[in-house]
């Protein structure tokens, strides 16, 4: 319990540090969010007026304190409405409010925008994580079992291709072959119905998962080769257990520890790394949102993306730690 509490405190500190650094870096950049709101050709007076409307004429420390005070605060248990100046841009969890302000560009609450976008990116990231785990574990096990045979060489060769190819090239290739030529999937987008969402998800999930699948293949192969050389495997075989049962029930189970570690960390990485995939496939998630927010210098949205992404990474790391406790008795015993 103490260990868990320590991890939670550490996670909170990491979140605060990440958000604070992001805030400072975002504001230290030599750019003018008010100009980006007004448009490149707006006259200086219009830019100045918008700067005041956005509160960007305040000193940075004032903006920072205001940001932190608003980020998590207590408030009435229900939001009065969009016109409520105090809590109109809050997401409320009972009395606890999270307020990231309003997007400079869209003028909508950032929490509303993130509530639309984050589930899509999480869906994409989880699907990609499953894709890469399925492909990677299967290919890695086959490669280990067929060590130094054709299947092994093919798996290793393809995994090297997978880790070497840039994501956007893989995306464009899949788009061209499976959407343009074969018409199996939509070229891009998110669709309007559940069926369309599912069809639209396939190519971006595979694109996002290719690198990880290739990487998993290498890891699982190495781990499995190590496990298959242990005495307990020979013993199990000597007792008459079938090869498949030995591989799946014994060796693979023992090889899962690093896979679990990577799987947990990968979800966070995939959320953060979905930027290119989302842009290529026009997937309306956090990745494409953060790219556009950076290009527009939309500070509240940038900070919202940082909060969500860092929260996912921190929580997935926590989940990995807890998974260790469940999977490995040695960790439970401390």
């Amino acid at each position: 319990m103490k260990r868990v509490l320590r991890r939670l405190a550490w996670a909170a500190f990491v979140m605060w540090a990440t958000v604070s650094v992001a805030f400072l870096v975002n504001n230290a950049l030599p750019s003018d969010p008010a100009r980006m709101v007004a448009g490149q050709q707006a006259p200086p007076a219009a830019v100045e007026k918008i700067r005041k409307q956005l509160g960007l004429d305040q000193p940075l420390r004032v903006q920072y304190v205001l940001f932190l005070r608003r980020l998590v605060h207590l408030g009435p248990s229900s939001i009065a409405g969009p016109s409520d100046p105090e809590h109109g841009s809050c997401a409320n969890l009972g009395a606890l409010h999270v307020d990231l302000g309003r997007s400079y560009q869209q003028q909508r609450p950032v929490t509303t925008i993130l509530a639309e976008r984050a589930p899509r990116t999480l869906l994409l990231a989880f699907t990609a994580a499953i894709v890469q785990a399925l492909i990677g574990v299967t290919a890695g096990v086959i490669a280990a079992v067929k060590k130094r045979k054709t299947a092994d060489r093919v798996a290793v060769g393809l995994s090297l291709l997978g880790v070497s190819a840039p994501t956007f090239v893989i995306g464009l290739l899949l788009q061209w072959v499976f959407a343009f030529k074969l018409r199996l999937f939509p070229i891009d987008g998110y669709g309007n119905t559940t069926a369309e969402h599912a069809a639209s998800l396939v190519l971006p999930a595979v694109t996002l998962g290719v690198f990880g699948a290739a990487y998993y293949t290498r890891i699982v192969r190495d781990e499995m080769i190590g496990e298959l050389s242990h005495d307990y495997v020979r013993t199990a075989r000597a007792k008459g257990l079938g090869k498949a049962a030995v591989v799946v029930r014994h060796a693979l189970r023992n090889a899962t520890m690093p896979i679990v570690t990577i799987f947990g960390l990968e979800v966070g990485t995939l959320v953060g790394g979905a930027i290119i995939t989302e842009s290529v496939f026009r997937w309306p998630g956090i990745g494409s949102l953060s790219v556009n927010a950076m290009l527009d210098r939309d500070g509240p949205v940038i900070m919202g993306c940082v909060v969500v992404t860092s929260a996912v990474v921190v929580l997935s790391t926590l989940a990995v730690d807890l998974a260790y406790v469940i999977l490995d008795p040695r960790v439970r015993r401390g």
Partner: protein
């Protein structure tokens, strides 16, 4: 864990070669493949327009707001134009034409504009458009609480300053003189008034728009199309549907228009070739050249008139550009034709500020000329002679040249550096992202040199002269006068032109100003940018529009066949089809 991510254990070269081969094999058919033929029209030329169909467009950009009082992106105008009708509007040639106002009278020596509205014009909510709605919409758009970057264009309306400063709640300069008559009183004559009125910010909005702007308002106007309740899926697509109560009988022909947002160029081209997009403007250059070279597509292609100027903006407050001879050397030393060839499909070389598609362009202007010998002479007069044989002399310091990443100007900067080196000016290209570039260029004493570019806000030379070269636009932060150029003669000519209602006399003032800018060279004017539009053969009566990109009121669809589906292998058998998804969308 025994291995670390990203560690390659096989020869990298082998992997790279294999990958390159795989990609080459994969993409080779795409590159060498012949373009599909345009999908033809079902009816012959001259056939009567048919009603129906949804026009499919796509864009790499996104829409931030559809409130005419808050336009801050380049895409919104073409959509807002479809949703909101104005008192006056631009036709496809850029000429002012009546819209909700059937006529107008200019009185009081050009200081009063009286508009007579058509009767029976309906908003999308069914309410009639009246003079009260006009006044309310104008005050809503110009009130200081509105985030309206274009508000200052209307500063000549009596009472503007107080409303803008939130010291007043109404605009005495806009007077309702009857249910269908509204007058605008100006504090001074304003030659641009009709032109800026034909822009979007003051377009009448439904009563649901209220007296002040609100981010939660559902856009509602009196234009030919209306935004349905779920028509805008932010970041994904936006669909408008026909307004059956539109005041022009029989129009529009289309059932609707759909914009796919955030779509990259390659996806747009794929979809266009499949027949899933009807019109494309965002071409990657190689694809654009393929379409241009194909005679089957030529009848369905148009180039816009140029409304954008590209050049090199020199900060006259920072050495060496405080020396007019150095600026003249740059203006003469750049090879405009060589720069044009960087993107010959979109660029045309120019020697003056005002583009050909804008009132005030002067075909007789001598302008700035590329002349290498003259450039060397200007360097000599500046006191920094350069010997091209020994490659000695010239300005002794390296000049930073600020440019933003991945823009056309980044590539042009590379060529520019080579050209200027030949006259003794060595520049160092510094690449930053776009927001940083804009911020630094508009900051006093921050940058000496970099690309300048400007797109018309309205088709008149004042839309270029005033923001870029009038000294009143200079500010420590956020100026568009990137040269920090201050010339009382230019200021005077611009101010006089602003009040000169006679087109011929105003044009002479513009020419005089352009002569001064040619000689003073705060910019080296270099190129005009023209957009290329490719449409399918079945898109009828479509025209590029100088202000709104597309003229869609009279556009109709007459598709003779389905998409090029015959080319697909598994068009009806894919996973999406099994899931009940239309993959052609």
């Amino acid at each position: 864990m025994r291995s670390t991510r990203g560690r390659a254990e096989a020869p990298r070269g082998l992997v790279a070669a294999t990958l390159a081969l795989a990609l080459a094999l994969a993409f080779a058919p795409a590159c060498s493949e012949k373009l599909p033929a345009p999908i033809p029209s079902a009816s012959p030329e001259g056939a009567a327009p048919k009603r129906g169909g949804v026009l499919e467009l796509a864009t790499f950009g996104d829409v931030r707001s559809l409130d005419p009082a808050n336009i801050t992106d380049g895409l919104a105008p073409q959509i807002i134009e479809q949703v909101f009708a104005g008192l006056v509007d631009y036709d496809k040639d850029g000429t002012i034409q009546p819209d909700i106002a059937e006529r107008w009278v200019i009185a009081d020596e050009g200081k009063t504009y009286r508009f007579f509205l058509r009767e029976g014009v309906r908003f999308h909510d069914g309410e009639e458009v009246t003079a009260d709605d006009v006044k309310r919409s104008v005050e809503r758009a110009l009130h200081g609480s509105a985030r309206n970057p274009a508000a200052s264009y209307y500063s000549s309306i009596v009472g503007f300053d107080a409303l803008d400063a939130k010291e007043a709640e109404s605009l005495p300069g806009v007077v309702v003189e009857g249910r269908y008559v509204v007058a605008f009183h100006l504090s001074k004559r304003d030659a641009t008034f009709l032109r800026v009125l034909a822009m979007l910010p003051l377009r009448p909005v439904c009563k649901s728009g209220g007296a002040r702007t609100s981010a939660s308002w559902h856009p509602c106007g009196a234009g030919p199309f209306k935004l349905p309740p779920n028509g805008w899926q932010r970041g994904q697509q936006l669909t408008v549907v026909r307004h059956d109560g539109y005041f022009r009988p029989g129009l529009p022909h289309l059932d609707g228009v759909r914009w796919t947002l955030h779509q990259n160029q390659s996806s747009q081209t794929f979809k266009f070739m499949r027949g899933d997009l009807d019109i494309v403007r965002d071409f990657a250059t190689p694809e654009l050249l393929r379409f241009q070279a194909d005679p089957r597509w030529k009848p369905f292609a148009t180039y816009d008139e140029a409304h954008q100027i590209l050049g090199e903006a020199m900060n006259v407050q920072i050495p060496p550009f405080d020396n007019v001879e150095i600026r003249r050397a740059v203006a003469a030393g750049i090879d405009r034709d060589a720069l044009r060839r960087i993107r010959a499909s979109n660029l045309t070389a120019t020697n003056q500020l005002v583009p050909p598609g804008v009132f005030g362009h002067d075909t007789d202007l001598h302008g700035q000329r590329s002349d290498y010998e003259a450039a060397l002479e200007h360097m000599r007069r500046a006191g920094y002679p350069y010997d091209p044989v020994t490659k000695t002399g010239g300005w002794p310091h390296v000049i930073p040249y600020l440019v933003y990443k991945q823009g056309l100007q980044e590539f042009m900067g590379q060529v520019l550096a080579q050209q200027l080196e030949k006259i003794g000016l060595r520049i160092e290209i510094r690449i930053v992202n776009y927001p940083t570039f804009i911020a630094l260029r508009g900051r006093r004493d921050a940058t000496a040199f970099g690309p300048g570019f400007w797109l018309q806000d309205f088709p008149d030379a004042l839309s270029f002269l005033e923001p870029i070269f009038h000294s009143k636009m200079i500010a420590d932060e956020g100026t568009n006068n990137w040269s920090f150029y201050k010339n009382p003669r230019i200021d005077d000519l611009i101010d006089r032109a602003h009040e000169e209602l006679d087109d011929e006399r105003r044009k002479k003032l513009y020419s005089e100003a352009q002569e001064i800018l040619t000689d003073d060279a705060p910019w080296a004017f270099s190129q005009n940018f023209r957009f290329y539009t490719q449409r399918q053969g079945y898109v009828r009566d479509h025209h590029s529009h100088p202000m709104w990109m597309h003229e869609l009121k009279r556009t109709w669809l007459d598709r003779a066949a389905g998409p090029v589906a015959g080319r697909a292998i598994f068009s009806e058998k894919g996973l999406a089809a099994l899931l009940g998804t239309d993959v052609r969308r």
